[in-house]
Subunit: 398 residues, 2 copies
């Protein structure tokens, strides 16, 4: 297993502690799976108490032994009951109540919050530190970028397998099943973590033909028909035909780290409208690579990219069919699908080296289909550098 | 697509309204995906306002058109801004503030709760109605049982495919990939919804040999090694050997409804200990079928089942390796993995006709492996009836 190196864990905790201190938070109680993995290197039924200074306290309900195998933190304290938490917080902070304690209030269920607020820590003030956590997590180390490159290699394996399965008469759904198998055999963990409530991402969107332009209910540019009202997005049972453009948008997971990639494949020459939009998509990527430098403001990048599209008179059906387009062009990506930064309307985030995001300019044209490719980028001093290794051409299959 | 019939939606809303009225709640604001699907028949970015009496108000941010295709509720009201919600609640309840409004406080993020409590409904009292929702959802209609039988057919397709892929020298991980593909081709939606925070279920556990007995961190009897500390459960890269017992535990999704099934396969004669436990597992299933009748109390069933195991002197490594065993034998199942009722220690739920649950007595023996099969049951007047159609024998492959 690829364990998270202890130097990584140490650097992450120190960076986060600096933010806790700057906000006068005495300690954070980390509970959510993704954040536990980030700060401890393991996902267990556990609490990680990170004080503003000094060593963290890692308390594990289950499984202590596997926690010890995976985390460099010591000691791993067995947690028999939540009632132990207050005294563990005393120990970690070296202080007694009243204190200011941070929790992940963007994801923590309301009932759980009230249990902590009223029963466990009635004399402390509980505040939201999810912004500080997400800010810390938004800057990727070179080890993290290696993990994300590993995920990009899985995406590449999947994209390269497409021509083997994509042919006239095959169902979109069956193409999806073959690509998922390909991803799994290449080590894809199977699912992608999302922070937002009610957001459900599964594998991605393998969409074809005009039905690809079905409007989404979630915050994606593409929706797709799905096969059930219980999850009406993604692939349907449609049979592929000549002239179809097939969009393969995959979200793949290597050791917790994600890669988001979209490539387009066409059964014979694609519709002229989609070919036209694909060419503009490439221009937008080239523009982004040059302008997404440290110091750039994400909301301004969004406006400027939209200007490029406006000048080309291609705003219609951009980022969603009709008027349903989403107001982002890119989303931060790492351990979760919806990390900082967002290349989106009104965003004030200033880009820094080591930030990573997926950039997905797409057109969703009713009655015709979907066009546009997507890469996962890292911000470097020279601009945005793609982590994806798959060629970016629209692949025309005979 | 298999849409939820309007008679289903009407009956569900009426049953839930009776509970709202009995608790003096003026209206519930349904927001979570699973509950939206249950009460409206569609998953959209939406709020469903169900008053204690009178017609519900369905407000949809996106996508209104697809909502109209899938839900029998009319009208579907476009929701441009959350600021519309207070007046929509006025309309649904026929009352103005102060009122008692119910939300899903077991899943709703804390920050969202405070936004509703302080900004949108400052004069109303917000209470938790998740228990009422889960109670309503625990009684399945015959249409829902048909959906769950559909999921059981997918489980059967997967279990029957196992001998085709299970052989010496194959990696556990590759067996998993083939079975997932089989499930997807048979219409499995791909993921399973879970209510509990931090619970992550993916496909199930395909586990083999002694490594199958790795302790879990989540609330399952089995853990498995996994391939990454980011999700260290389920299959690993282990190569199958003669003498291995392979446990195929699948959680499969037909139109939103789940089936949970475990079957055991052995490469050659299985270890005597596992064979012995398998025989006792069958006795427990037979005992359950007879005793899980309407009126039975789940905690008492749990105690009595444990007595059977105790009398057989087989408590060691029951429901988890060493002392890590979980304190349940069954969990309610339908649209989510963790529904009411729980066949668990201390539970007071009284069984009623139409309740469904997975029953999974398993032994997790360190150094040897895992044994035990699992069915999804429905409570009938004659006792528990299995929804699964796969033969229950331990399959010994040559």
């Amino acid at each position: 297993m690829l364990l998270v190196p202890s130097s990584e864990i140490a650097a992450r905790i120190v960076a986060f502690q600096r933010l806790l201190g700057s906000q006068q938070v005495d300690a954070a109680l980390i509970r959510q799976n993704t954040d536990l993995y980030y700060f401890s290197g393991t996902v267990q039924d556990a609490f990680l108490i990170i004080p503003a200074s000094g060593p963290p306290v890692f308390a594990v309900r289950r499984d202590v032994q596997r926690a010890e195998q995976q985390t460099p933190l010591r000691p791993v304290i067995p947690l028999e009951s939540l009632k132990q938490l207050p005294s563990l917080v005393d120990e970690a902070t070296g202080r007694s109540s009243p204190r200011t304690l941070g929790m992940e209030l963007d994801v923590l269920p309301t009932n759980t919050f009230f249990f902590f607020d009223e029963k466990l820590f009635p004399k402390d003030r509980l505040v939201d530190v999810s912004g500080l956590i997400r800010h810390t997590r938004s800057l990727k180390s070179s080890w993290e970028l290696d993990m994300m490159r590993g995920a990009a290699r899985i995406s590449d394996t999947v994209a390269r397998a497409v021509p083997q399965f994509l042919r006239e008469g095959v169902r979109e759904w069956d193409l999806l099943a073959e690509l998922e198998r390909t991803a799994r055999l290449a080590g894809h963990l199977g699912f992608s973590r999302v922070r937002g409530f009610n957001l459900e991402i599964f594998f991605g969107h393998v969409l074809s033909g005009p039905e690809a332009a079905e409007a989404p209910y979630a915050d994606h540019p593409t929706g797709g028909p799905g096969i059930s009202p219980a999850f009406s997005q993604g692939s349907g049972f449609r049979t592929l035909r000549r002239g179809d453009l097939v969009s393969v948008d995959t979200m793949l997971n290597h050791n917790g780290y994600l890669n988001d990639q979209t490539r387009n494949f066409s059964l014979g020459p694609p519709h002229a409208v989609l070919q036209d939009r694909y060419a503009l998509c490439r221009e937008l990527h080239l523009w982004l690579r040059e302008h997404a430098v440290p110091g750039a403001v994400t909301g301004e990048l969004y406006d400027q990219l939209l200007d490029v599209v406006r000048k080309a008179d291609r705003l219609e059906h951009f980022m969603g069919p009709n008027d349903s387009g989403v107001s982002f062009l890119g989303h931060g990506l790492g351990l979760e699908v919806d990390e900082f930064p967002f290349i989106a309307k009104g965003q004030k985030t200033v880009l820094r080296e080591g930030m990573t995001f997926a950039f997905e300019p797409k057109w969703v044209v009713p009655g015709i289909g979907v066009a546009g490719f997507e890469n996962t980028y890292v911000v470097t001093e020279h601009g945005a550098e793609t982590l994806n290794v798959t060629p970016e051409d629209l692949v025309i299959l005979p």
